[in-house]
């Protein structure tokens, strides 16, 4: 069974072999796979290193990862450079957020750091965080024991706080929105509670800091609880249309709504045969 399927697949592909786009397409595939291999390869040595330096402290380990993966932009001692800020005093929370969500290391300086598949695993991230935290005191990584939002959060209050403090950038339902000059506030759907909390206290990229005195830890838990409630809220009134407001509603009425009606009108006025 399986061989048959593969064979027919190959046949299908080979039919396109002489297509005029075949050459360029092959080139693109080759380049992508080369890039991917390079990515994996560049990440591999660190795991090897892990085994050999199993005895050294977490900080030492983090320093080495930093020297390899981060120092070219942030400076050898995390003092910052012309293209990247100093990391002295940003704290472990900041590292955990930036590296843990895959935003750092950045792939491309031309745009905003995007959420992507993390390059470093949990231990490496912890090591990096420990190293950066050792440079100067800063907000600590949020551990699971602190994320008691299910117990201590209040969804409705969280909603109030969210609308006053977060909705202007992240949209009323946490779907994200546009900032100036092509920057954007990302969607909050599917973001881990820990990362939301860390973002609130560290203010990554364009986002400002929300201090514990102006939004207390309990209030932060409420915000997280509300975001989680919005995330898991089923579609009460049918397809959500992206929860971005009237723009998609207008599009739908002109396409599906009026389209259907005009289609039926054409049938209605066509002469029967």
């Amino acid at each position: 069974m399986r061989t048959v399927r593969i064979n027919s697949g190959i046949k299908k592909i080979s039919r396109y072999r002489r297509h005029r786009f075949a050459g360029p397409a092959l080139l693109v595939v080759a380049l992508i796979s080369l890039g991917a291999t390079f990515q994996v390869a560049s990440a591999l040595p660190s795991t090897n290193k892990m085994e050999t330096t199993a005895q050294s402290t977490l900080i030492e380990e983090g320093k080495q990862i930093f020297a390899r993966g981060c120092s070219s932009c942030h400076g050898l001692n995390a003092e910052g450079g012309s293209i990247a800020p100093s990391l002295i005093g940003v704290g472990a929370a900041s590292v955990d957020f930036q590296v843990g969500t895959g935003r750092m290391p950045m792939q491309d300086m031309s745009q905003q750091a995007m959420r992507k598949q993390p390059i470093y695993n949990a231990e490496e991230t912890a090591a990096l965080a420990a190293y950066v935290a050792s440079l100067a005191p800063g907000p600590d990584v949020i551990n699971e024991a602190q994320l008691t939002y299910e117990r201590d959060g209040n969804t409705a209050e969280g909603g109030q706080l969210f609308r006053t403090n977060c909705a202007m950038c992240h949209n009323f339902a946490g779907q994200g929105g546009a900032l100036s000059q092509g920057k954007y506030a990302p969607t909050l759907m599917g973001v881990e509670a820990r990362h939301i909390y860390e973002a609130l206290i560290t203010g990554p990229q364009s986002m400002p800091v929300f201090s514990d005195k102006t939004i207390t830890p309990e209030e932060k838990l409420s915000i997280i609880k509300w975001i989680k409630a919005a995330e898991s809220e089923p579609n009460l009134g049918g397809a959500s249309l992206g929860r971005v407001g009237p723009v998609t509603e207008g599009l739908l009425v002109w396409t599906l709504g009026l389209g259907l009606l005009i289609g039926i009108a054409v049938w209605l006025t066509a002469k029967a045969r």
């Binding site: 202007m168 900032l179 100036s180 364009s206 800091v209 514990d212 579609n235 397809a239």
Partner: protein, 330 residues
Amino acid sequence: MSNELQKFQDPGLPEHVHRKTDLDPKAADRAERQVAILFVLSAISTVVAIYSYIFIPDNQYFFLPVMGDTNAHQLLLGLGMAFALLFIGLGLVLWAKELMPDTEVIAERHEFRSPDEDRADFVRTVKEQASASGLGRRSLIKRTLGLALGISALTPLVLLRDLGPLPKKELEKTSWKKGTRLVTDPGNRPIRPEDLEIGAVAQVLPELVEGQERTLSDIGKDAVLLIRLRPSEFQLDAERLSWTHDGIIAFSKICSHMGCAVALYEQQTKHLLCPCHQSTFDVTRAAKVIFGPSARPLPQLAITVDADGYLVAQQPFTESVGPSYWERSS
């Protein structure tokens, strides 16, 4: 170049082509059955709608591709209703198309213009009536009538006067006074400068005096955004710099363009963006407008700390907050 004579002639209405249902009784019967099926489907849909109204609890969800988790009660009730209506409509149209006589009919139009003598009669009558009323000659009547009619329209306008109070100086005032503490919104907690890290923002309102309640109208004028920068980042004149405290600067959150809440602060660029119309303000330069339709910076609130170390207003706003209006002086 072309004149009427040379034009292609109108061959007249094409001959009527009979439908299958006109010629073949079987086809007609089939059409009848199709119409009947549509009506039956409609009745079934109504039953589905009523069933879901009564028996499907409104907290029941199921997963559908594209739509995600969907409320069963809402969806089935709606679909039942929609198809009940749609099938009636489709059935009626099919009936009309297939079985009702479809011979095109020609109806003549009547010219709207009346025959000349009727028209002349009418025009003469109107003229006579007009002159009989004396409107043309007795200009005194005409003018006074115009006056009376015109002025009578004022009464309803005057009657609307009590819709609301006069604005007086209301638009210039906010609840901020010298020494009013800045408190968090929501939460109503006073704030110390050290509570805010560099890059932090806080949404604040004036502290309520005992027994006072905050209305939405108050928030609509009093809302303030507090931002902390490095003091070295400011590019302010001496007066405006003295309105800040240790890198903390306060702006009215009510947009100077159309009054939306301008709270979208970009920490890296130090820009404030209004999500309604995208006016962009530079925080380091006293909220100078750098993009978008707003013509004025956001009003800055002068702040300092009181004896207890809490942030307070130095003075009320020195200009009106919110959108422009005629009486605004600057």
